[in-house]
Amino acid sequence: MGVTEFFMYLAVMAGVTYAIRAVPLVLCKREITNRFLRSFLAYVPYAVLGAMTFPAIFYSTDGYLAAAAGTAVALVLAFYRKGLLLVAVGACLAAFLVKII
């Protein structure tokens, strides 16, 4: 792949991605009052993350046992509200420990 071609790919990739993010934010300035829409938008982030996490988390590292251990540790830490970083590190450590055992 030549440098020119790389920059063409890059422009397309970044342009599309940016437009998707910026357009709704710039265009939608009024407060939405529709109850259905408000509820829908309140649920979206959690539904997105739920769908992205499962079942992908079980395939996120070599070996199902390591992935399951990481998932279990993350679930427990998240349940006790340990914060983003601690939960992420805990999951990695659990997966790593299962692999070296």
């Binding site: 109850r35 982030p45 739920g50 070599d62 390591a66 590190v89 450590l93 692999k99």
Partner: protein, 237 residues
């Protein structure tokens, strides 16, 4: 300034989570034959995990520009939903010009953290919340591209679960405190599992799957468990 600092503080755990994921991206890009600066440039202009990994595949395979545009559109369309939600969450200080800037930094985690604030968010809060993870994302890519090769495989593979741990840290507390969110999350997960394991359905690309699951689950939630008017406002102010 207080808001900016608060944003930076909230952005720090996201940044640390990003380092592991972008490290993996940098490592993969270089092993696929890209230069280190190309990997970093992709991260600095896109700031999106799933889209970048897919885009990298297309570049390396020499795919068509249309394919690149379409795949990015589908995989990243969820950001349009998030930006729409976020448009209701930012306060009056976020003028149009700042919306163009904030739009650049809408990622799954930045969005989720901004939405989990108990009040509206100002532009300085958003700048802080975006700046720290942005440097984490770019820096992690650089580190992965330059140093990735020296890490043992077992460590590299263990890092793969980090991003999902972060996601769980966001959704589990919410599901625990409000059963309506739990139901919506469970619907989304059930659908996502169907798309992974049911023959035929599993041919749908991952970007589409996320959109379908999120829209269906959120619509079901809005229909059957609407957020009460007063309560909805309270959540967001």
């Amino acid at each position: 300034m207080k808001d900016f600092k608060r944003g930076m503080k909230d952005g720090l755990p996201i940044a640390l989570g990003y380092v592991s994921v972008s490290f993996t991206f940098g490592l993969m890009a270089v092993s696929a034959g890209m230069d280190w600066w190309q990997a970093v440039l992709i991260s600095m202009t896109n700031v999106t995990s799933a889209g970048q990994f897919a885009g990298l595949d297309i570049m390396v395979a020499g795919g068509a520009m249309v394919e690149m545009a379409l795949s990015q559109f589908v995989i990243n369309l969820r950001y349009a939903l998030m930006s729409l939600s976020l448009s209701q969450k930012v306060d009056k200080t976020v003028y149009t010009i700042y919306r163009f800037i904030v739009g650049f930094g809408v990622t799954d985690e930045i969005f989720a953290v901004a939405m989990s604030r108990d009040r509206k968010v100002s532009r300085y809060y958003m700048f802080g919340l975006i700046a720290v993870p942005y440097f984490g994302w770019a820096g992690g890519t650089l580190a992965g591209a330059v140093l990735g090769g020296i890490l043992p495989e077992i460590v590299r593979s263990s890092l793969g679960i980090a991003i999902y741990g972060m996601f769980l840290a966001i959704i589990i507390p919410k599901a625990h405190e409000d059963s309506r969110y739990m139901k919506v999350i469970l619907i989304a997960i059930a659908l996502s599992c169907c798309f992974k394991w049911i023959p035929g359905l599993n041919r749908v690309s991952s970007g589409f799957v996320i959109i379908i699951c999120a829209v269906a689950a959120s619509a079901a939630g809005a229909l059957f468990y609407p957020v009460l008017d007063g309560e909805g406002k309270e959540d967001e102010e």
